[in-house]
Point group: C2
Chain length 323, copies 2
């Protein structure tokens, strides 16, 4: 199953979501309208709205609140991407030129702020205060998680518990938010909220571990990213963390020394082999599968439905994907 | 009266505000704590918290809600500054190195996001939903106003109504928010909320017009900014807008042509003289004084108190200041 198949059960809701999303961003300022239309044209994979709608459908009947929840997370995600592209000086996004490339940094940052304020207002105007609590906790975790990772990278100091906490904060928190918001929009049962929140968190962990594995094993022609990007950015992810824990003190010193010196001194091929030889890839994949399995267990008590089957398939999809 | 005198009536509340502000930003991540402490050391003039607390004191008794309101606007303002410095590649802020200069852009942007999420959570955790509605409307107006100004600058297309709308959005909205939040924190009377909101909006207009006048008349040794910075950024502000409206078609064409070509072709001295000769400075100053006067009228029905006198003095201060 790919993402298209996974989205089938809530397919008919996507055009309504698109309309609510577009409406929420309306502005009387021409430049804002122009950039908003451009963002709509960039259209991403819509993983987050799809998760909101599937979770909503699993726990009840998709309604206006579900569309607004999907819009809130998509707006938030879009704002983050616009700001990210500024920081990374990225020229393209989703196959089109990035906002900062077309309109300059100043406009891109303002546009990001505008998007955030519209997301907030959409929720406030509709008294979706519960959504906001869930979402702002995720924003805090995401920024704190990224900053925590930077701090650890500088010291090259990472173990498995710290790694799991960081990826929980920076990645799993938003997927968890999507699923919890979806459940909240259609069910008043706190048990539903908890199950979907935990499903999202666990799927998020599996997703990020797979992402970190692909940094070692992925082909640039498929993933679009060069192998070993994390290594060159001094990010110690699970495959390497595990390999380092199993290596001799001498090997550890040599590998960390190479990463620390950075630049051309880093032999990516050498480090990938080191990780493979110490079972880092195999171990990380096992852990990802375990998290996906735990995620699926969270859905066991919920009634069978096409949307539930899609969420089960999504848990497998994130671990087995090649890009 | 300077800002120090204006703050005297709420002087004793500032240490409590500082504590609430500091508490709201606590983090378990060392790097976040480090940067937060640095931000606290940078300490600004605290105009916004002072306005919140004065407005609160004018309408009732300063309380926990008032401190949280002051914290929310100061956090929001700080986040904006951190992001601004990234966009402008600024090296310093308040006499210390900027966050981006010390820790790089990526960390500065994440820190801005972290600050925003903490501001949000502070309000949500305390059910200050009214604060959030007021504030997110201001954030929308601020970003939309800035984008509107950029759009107009590109076309060199500006008249007084558009100018007033833009400065209302980009500047007056946040001062208005401060005063309305303050009033909301201590009074349940919607009339109080309206009066303080309008006072803040009008003072904000006067403030920005004075700022724009100083761009023509200010001395760099006092303002810290070179004369004519707006002209070189193609920003048409009230003194110039008024002068252009009173000039002949030929003069208008010549001045706009010079501004459009930009760079070394812009003779700032020439444009300043043009504006002065057509009464642009005098007119803008009159308008600023009118707005300050209207602001003060909004406070007429409120009982006399040291804080009320400070708000009256603040309206004069923003128009007469030299920096």
């Amino acid at each position: 199953m790919d993402l298209h198949d996974i989205a089938l059960p809530i397919q008919d809701h996507l055009p309504v979501f698109n309309r609510v999303f577009r409406e929420a961003l309306r502005s009387k300022v021409g430049l804002v309208e122009l950039i908003t239309k451009y963002i709509v044209r960039q259209k991403g994979k819509k993983v987050r709205p799809i998760l909101v709608l599937l979770s909503a459908d699993v726990c009840g009947t998709v309604n206006e609140k579900s569309y607004r929840g999907a819009t809130l997370v998509e707006i938030l995600h879009t704002a983050t991407l616009v700001h990210d592209d500024v920081v990374d000086n990225a020229d393209t996004r989703r196959g089109l030129a990035s906002i900062n490339a077309v309109w300059k940094n100043k406009i891109a940052v303002l546009m990001g702020d505008y998007l955030l304020s519209r997301g907030l207002l959409l929720s406030l105007e509709n008294d979706d205060v519960a959504f906001l609590k869930i979402t702002s906790t995720a924003v805090r975790r995401m920024s704190e998680g990224e900053l925590h990772q930077i701090q650890r990278s500088r010291k090259l100091d990472m173990d498995e518990p710290a790694y799991l906490r960081i990826i929980g904060d920076k990645t799993a928190s938003l997927l968890s938010t999507c699923c919890e918001i979806g459940a909240t929009s259609t069910s008043g049962n706190p048990e539903h909220h908890r199950l979907l929140r935990e499903y999202g968190e666990l799927v998020g962990l599996a997703f990020q571990i797979r992402d970190d594995i692909l940094d070692y094993t992925g082909r640039k022609s498929i993933t679009g990213k060069p192998t070993g990007l994390d290594i060159s950015e001094k990010k110690l992810t699970l495959p390497l963390v595990h390999a380092l824990a199993r290596a001799t003190a001498g090997e550890r010193k040599q590998v960390l020394g190479m990463i620390r010196s950075g630049g051309k001194k880093v032999n990516v091929r050498h480090i990938v082999t080191f990780v493979e030889e110490h079972g880092g890839i195999t171990y990380a994949l096992e852990r990802a599968r375990e998290f996906a399995q735990s995620a699926k267990q969270r859905l066991e008590t919920l009634p069978d439905s096409p949307s539930r089957r899609s969420l089960l398939a999504f848990a497998d999809f994130v671990v087995e994907r090649e890009k």
